[in-house]
């Protein structure tokens, strides 16, 4: 499992705009880079990121070769109800990882 760090406010008032920040360890190998022996390393990147809030998709992004290693993704959403935010990264070589964070909305 890759290391991932997620920052979500633990509590929010209903209707608040909340900022979410995520980081994940990933090489984001472009598939264009030759190694020391001149052999091009095969592409290995994350392709898609999605955030679901109580099972409703609230944010998604496509990722490409031009994105740096260990991608940082930040976005905002509206606090609607207490529950769970889940974050999923998928990519080359069957990469798939999901992390969750709880939020209490009052």
């Amino acid at each position: 499992m890759a290391r991932a760090l997620i920052s979500v406010p633990k509590t929010a008032k209903k209707g608040d705009i909340i900022e979410i920040k995520t980081l994940i360890s990933h090489v984001m190998e472009t598939g264009y880079r030759p190694d020391a022996a001149g052999k091009v390393a095969p592409r290995d990147i994350l392709r898609r990121f999605t955030c679901r809030y109580n099972d409703e998709e609230v944010f998604s992004a496509e990722l490409w070769q031009a994105i740096a290693a260990n991608p940082f993704i930040s976005f905002t959403t509206v606090a609607t109800a207490s529950g769970t935010l889940s974050f999923t990264w998928t990519g080359d070589n069957g990469f798939s990882q999901t992390e969750t964070a709880a939020i209490t909305v009052t």
């Binding site: 290391r3 760090l5 920052s7 980081l23 090489v27 984001m28 290693a69 940082f72 930040s74």
Partner: protein, 255 residues
């Protein structure tokens, strides 16, 4: 590389460089763009925190059923390791030499956990070094004060002032005499190693101070000292004395 050399030749370098007065000492952080500075300031944005998380997990985990985890002997790192990294390199009784923090971690790994040493620049080693370094963040760098370190410190100081490589440059020529000027677009910092290990944008990766020093040596077309070489530790020791009292920033971000 060609550009690097061409610009090097344009630098007018005084033959002897004086030490930087204490009031003019500045961290590499001060030479960075506001965006990169923000990346370092905000832990949620700093990719180095991924390695810190790795190190924290390593700290808690027993490497085998027969061995204790780091925490099994040292307890809560936020208490037991507070301020420790700020005083490395330090004198090691077992080898009778100066060792840096990563060598100290590996010494525990080998002697107290009976495990093979972590490889240079490996994730668990950089992770543990970043996690322990974080326990000194905000504290002053401790000058080496053990008298047994004096010979290593002197050798480090001498190396810092020795011209190296095909380009025949010494560390002091760039970092004491020409800091603030630009080299191939990057500002030359004063070489205060207050934030190591660092996440370096150019590497797209975390790296140790030894990796940074080896880069500077390659930059002047010198054969870099191998990882773990006494010379690198001696340089680290001298850098620590030059930066004594400055604030530890680990884990820092650098361009």
């Amino acid at each position: 590389m060609i550009r690097f050399i061409a610009i090097l030749l344009l630098l007018s370098l005084p033959a002897a460089a004086a030490d930087i007065p204490a009031s003019e000492r500045r961290s590499g952080y001060d030479f960075m763009s506001p965006a990169t500075q923000e990346m370092q300031r905000d832990d949620a944005l700093n990719p180095a925190m991924l390695w810190v998380a790795e190190g924290e997990a390593q700290w808690q985990e027993a490497p085998s059923s027969a061995a204790k985890p780091c925490a099994g002997c040292h307890g809560d790192a936020t208490a037991s390791m507070r301020g420790v990294a700020a005083g490395y390199p330090a004198f090691d009784e077992r080898t009778g030499k100066a060792i840096d923090l990563q060598q100290r971690i590996n010494a525990c790994r080998v002697t107290h956990q009976q495990q093979p040493a972590f490889a240079a620049e490996s994730r668990p080693l950089l992770g543990l070094a970043a996690y322990l370094g974080l326990q000194s963040r905000g504290l002053p760098v401790q000058a080496p004060d053990d008298p047994r370190l004096a010979p290593a410190l002197q050798r480090g100081e001498k190396l810092f002032h020795t011209a190296m490589g095909q380009l025949n440059f010494s560390c002091t020529q760039c970092h004491d005499a020409n800091w603030g000027k630009r080299l191939a677009g990057s500002p030359i910092p004063q070489a205060h190693a207050t934030g190591y290990p660092i996440y370096r944008l150019e590497w797209q990766d975390m790296g140790s101070l030894q990796r940074r020093l080896r880069n500077c040596m390659t930059g002047v077309r010198a054969e870099p000292f191998p990882y773990g070489a006494d010379e690198l530790v001696q340089l680290e020791l001298y850098l620590n004395s030059r930066s004594a009292g400055m604030t530890v920033e680990t884990p820092a971000v650098r361009p």
